[in-house]
Symmetry: C2
């Protein structure tokens, strides 16, 4: 597999996230024209509109077709599925605009849940009351019940999630744009910011389509 | 104490919530004129603008002045404080536009946290993605990892909260507009929809100002 010339792309609701060898970059969904790329691109996409656009372009290879999706559920995002394909045992926390938490045991997907991402949740509190307009305190001591407003919302957001995920007693793999921030809470977690891209490479290798 | 003629009022961000004997009713903050009431009203208010208006009206008695607020924290809402005053041991969950969770042990406030209310959180998920635009499933089996989108967000909202609150191993008292819905999740909880009003009566009795 020639990693250096392989072009990967993880497409979300707002951006194309490319990995070109070791170089990562993003393009906006609203302005980027995928026809500008003539070399082969292996991609996954949770964006229905982009999916439609790409289906006519022969050099854009949709890796969703190489995943046994019957192991997952119908409306599950392909990014979550691909991340689960990357591991055999563990909890994958993908911390982005949403936080997805998925469990894989002995290579089998056991289910997962969705929690709001940091920015979305901060806005939620601020919209409930201007008295709750704070950034979250990721350094919060989760063993102590809060006695001020900033800690009260930080605890509400972070400790509840921590409580649930810790109860699985499994290895935690953190990925997504906010992975490093959440590692302050999940101190034992392994951060793998390239989990999705590594998973895509694994699928390419397995399908032998490179 | 003559319950039948005592007028109580719990003032929030959007409404005056009255209890007149056994009869409850609400008035909108934007349209209601408190000067229209000439009899004595015992009230609490988290609404700074209303507080200012009421401070000039001699028949509106602010019960906040009869609570030892140094036992709590500066920016803590008076509704949370008053609810805590009502119990000696337990977790108070007040499920409204926000959900406040407060612990009282041997009559002492131990701290608490704030979680988004049902409507706020449903909007949060819907705003992240139209694919997450669902009502929460309060009948969800919390012992099973979800395998569909509606359950994935319901679990993310409800199970994380349940996990944290259950870990206290204390009696749970549910109040607020969504108390009955949350009892489907906190099956052992005691619902007391009049907790705040009962707490207000207790303060009036203790202060002997009736």
């Amino acid at each position: 597999m020639e990693d250096s010339i392989m072009l990967l792309c993880d497409i979300g609701n707002s951006s194309y996230h490319f990995l070109d060898g070791e170089y990562e970059y993003k393009e906006s969904v609203s302005s980027f024209n995928p026809q500008n790329i003539t070399k082969k691109v292996y991609y996954i996409s949770v964006n229905a509109a982009v999916n439609k656009k790409l289906s006519d372009l022969k050099n854009w290879i949709n890796l969703a077709e190489y995943v046994e999706s019957s192991n997952y559920y119908d409306t599950m995002g392909i990014d979550r599925i691909v991340a689960c394909e990357a591991i055999d045992n563990g909890v994958v926390i993908d911390a982005g605009s949403a936080i997805t938490v998925d469990i894989v045991q002995d290579g089998v997907f056991k289910g997962g849940f969705i929690y709001p991402g940091k920015v979305a949740m901060q806005n939620t509190y601020a919209n409930i009351s201007s008295a709750l307009h704070y950034s979250f305190n990721f350094e919060l001591n989760l063993d102590k019940m809060p006695k001020n407003s900033q800690d009260a919302i930080s605890y509400g957001y972070l400790k509840t999630l921590f409580c649930e995920v810790s109860s699985y007693n499994m290895e935690i793999i953190l990925t997504g744009g906010d992975a490093l921030e959440f590692q302050k809470v999940f101190k034992e977690a392994r951060v793998d910011e390239k989990l999705i891209f590594n998973a895509m490479k694994k699928i390419i290798q397995k399908a032998d389509i490179c």
